[in-house]
């Protein structure tokens, strides 16, 4: 099947990762907001983690796509 699942996974994680990272930055100074999560800016951490995972997935899907295109 000519569909590579790594591409949509990579895209989705990158998009949600960016959203959470930005949200994390915007709320970073709001100590009250992060009281729930033990004073950890969990949005920033989760966002960066998802972004990294998304980029890795995208990188893999690109790497596997190129040799096919050459055929």
């Amino acid at each position: 099947m000519g569909v590579d699942i790594k591409l949509p996974i990579g895209l989705m994680f990158s998009i949600i990762g960016v959203i959470l990272t930005i949200h994390g930055f915007l709320t970073a100074t709001n100590a009250e907001f992060y009281k729930k999560s033990m004073d950890i800016n969990i949005n920033l951490w989760a966002g960066l983690f998802m972004l990294a995972f998304g980029i890795i997935m995208l990188a893999f899907s690109k790497r596997l796509k190129n040799p096919k295109a050459g055929k």
């Binding site: 699942i5 949509p8 989705m12 998009i15 959203i19 033990m38 969990i42 989760a46």
Partner: protein
């Protein structure tokens, strides 16, 4: 209501991105759905890492996540037995010993294997009971989700129900099994990443693993158990009364570790179907092994939050409470209430999206297993055989809609009658318990006959029913908890009763199948059974690879890691 969680724009944004992607995947795959095989068997073309993650994701439905976290809060670390004893050995057995027959026989479903190996009636019994079970299960989990969203977020029950069902319907209707499997991979990663912060923040909150142990020590002593009852997986398992699960080691290993676990992982088409969609025998055998790797570590994701919740519930200053049901704590609400307790807007949306993803992966698993069984084992076999392939493709697509519609109806049924869920699950337990004996004798004993298999299976189901009717969970009213014929024996816990029900059903099915097989003539010759029975099938060898690339090496590695984990948390 004070327990209600309020969502912000950011939370809805994350949820929307997820929904767009799952539907998008179905949309893109639509143009590849040309034959019934494409739609119902994913063209038997997928690589092992995809089918392996889908294998575990289909199992990781909402009921599993809610249920395991609930057990974590009720029984503590004892719940890991459902993983390291109750899953890993069976997954290894499926990969190494059973997959060659499932995949190699070219059967398109588990019931079809029974037809090839035994006869039509054995297939019919399995196909019909399984088809009913899958739609009811997806209906029950749909009800659980919609009810939760209603209580927690104040969403309309009807809206949540129809909305979540329609999304699953769209992507499974468009892209069939391939779409379900691809989305299961995406959902798997989302579930992990959405719930992981819960374990991390929760663990920091209770002072790490040592803090958790210390806090649960006092809870254990307060309830009359030894200090490590909630934090050491084998402590107090010598007797049913000295551990919170209410079962002793033998019942646990035989009931859960052998009968129930092998019955689920090795014969349930919901998971086996994922492996059968693999592109080669090697990939099919690798599927459960790849699934076993994350499965071993899932306790840290779903049981740990339950254990942390147990600490919070016993700490009056934590401000944490579960939803109430009939005046007592509803442990199934552990995960969502923990999300609300620890997550600020943003990750809260992510966590709820993960919850939705887990619901969808389980439901899509049920729907795709249902439409395959319906199309091949019921429609093509009994209703309308010998039609062109296009016809069965349409039937498969229609069965998808039909399956979702019946699931919705079941969800409303569950909403109407409080006990119906317990009742349905009980019936499934009776039907499933003996099944592993049938498959095992079929695959490893060439003398077993069609009559033997069918009547053995029926005897096993009757045995399960009678055992349930004659025994009772201590302290419960007679009825759905047992004892409706006469109370001959009382079990200390519901779990003990269900484990022993399964053990008896298995033994009766096993013995009856053997006796009746000896009393009846074989109808299939050795030649017919080639590829279906162990002793008549040429040994499958993996050639041209190094020893460490083989499935056996991976299986041994998985086994060793599971043993190491068990020893660490002994």
């Amino acid at each position: 209501m004070e327990t209600t969680i309020t969502l912000g724009t950011i939370d809805f944004l994350i949820m929307s991105v997820y929904i767009l992607f799952v539907i998008g995947i179905g949309w893109v795959l639509k143009r590849y759905m040309l034959t019934a095989t494409d739609f119902l068997e994913a063209g038997r073309s997928l690589p092992a890492w995809i089918t392996g993650l889908a294998f575990i994701s289909a199992n990781l439905g909402a009921l599993e996540v809610f249920g395991m976290a609930a057990s974590g809060a009720k029984y503590g670390i004892k719940t890991v037995h459902f993983y390291w004893i109750g899953a890993i050995p069976a997954m290894i057995f499926l990969a190494i010993f059973m997959m060659p027959f499932y995949y190699g026989s070219k059967a398109r479903s588990a019931p079809e294997y029974l037809k090839l190996r035994f006869d039509e009636k054995t297939r019919g019994l399995n196909a019909i009971s399984f088809a009913v079970m899958t739609v009811f299960t997806s209906g029950i989990s749909m009800f659980a989700l919609a009810e939760l969203l209603r209580i927690l977020l104040g969403w309309d029950f009807n809206f949540s129900l129809i909305f979540s069902a329609v999304i699953v319907l769209i992507y499974t209707y468009l892209g069939g099994l391939t779409s379900a499997i691809y989305n299961e991979v995406l959902q798997f990663f989302l579930i992990v990443i959405g719930f992981l912060p819960l374990s991390i923040i929760g663990l920091i909150n209770v002072g790490g693993w040592d803090g958790l142990k210390e806090s649960l020590k006092s809870v254990a002593i307060e309830r009359g158990f030894s200090a490590g009852a909630f934090t050491a997986s084998w402590e107090g398992m010598g007797s049913a009364t000295s551990n919170p699960m209410g079962i002793q080691w033998f019942g646990l290993i035989m009931g859960l570790g052998f009968v129930l676990s092998f019955g689920y992982w090795c014969t349930n088409f919901l998971v086996v179907q994922r492996a059968m969609a693999a592109g080669s025998m090697k990939a099919a055998r690798r599927t459960p092994l790849i699934g076993a790797v994350p499965k071993m570590f899932l306790p840290f994701l779903v049981i740990l939050p339950g254990m942390i919740a147990l600490v919070l519930l016993n700490d009056s200053e934590s401000g944490f409470a579960l939803l109430q049901k009939n005046g007592s704590d509803d442990f199934n609400s552990v995960i969502p209430m923990m999300l609300g307790h620890y997550f600020p807007a943003g990750v809260l949306g992510l966590g709820l999206t993960a919850l939705m993803a887990s619901f969808m992966s389980g439901m899509a698993g049920n729907v795709t297993a249902f439409n395959t069984i319906w199309t091949y084992d019921i429609y093509q076999s009994y209703i309308n055989p010998n039609k062109p392939d296009k016809h069965y493709l349409r039937v498969g697509q229609f069965a998808t809609i039909f399956g979702v519609a019946v699931s919705i109806a079941t969800a409303y049924l569950a909403a109407q009658f409080d006990n119906i869920m317990d009742f349905i699950q009980l019936v499934f337990a009776f039907v499933n318990a003996p099944l592993f004996a049938t498959f095992m004798l079929g695959m490893f004993w060439k003398r077993s006959t069609g009559h033997g298999a069918f009547y053995g299976l029926a005897a096993g189901i009757v045995a399960a029913t009678v055992h349930h009717g004659l025994t009772l969970t201590a302290g419960e009213a007679i009825g759905i908890k047992g004892g409706w014929i006469s109370v001959l024996h009382q079990y200390p816990s519901e779990m003990a009763l269900s484990f022993w029900t399964a053990i008896w059903a298995f033994i009766v099915c096993f013995v009856f199948t053997i006796i009746i097989s000896f009393a009846t003539q074989r109808t299939k010759s050795d030649n017919d059974l080639k590829g279906l029975v162990y002793s008549l099938t040429p040994k499958y060898r993996e050639e041209g690879i190094k020893w460490y690339q083989s499935n056996l090496a991976l299986a041994i590695l998985v086994g060793i890691v599971a043993i190491i984990l068990s020893i660490i948390f002994w």
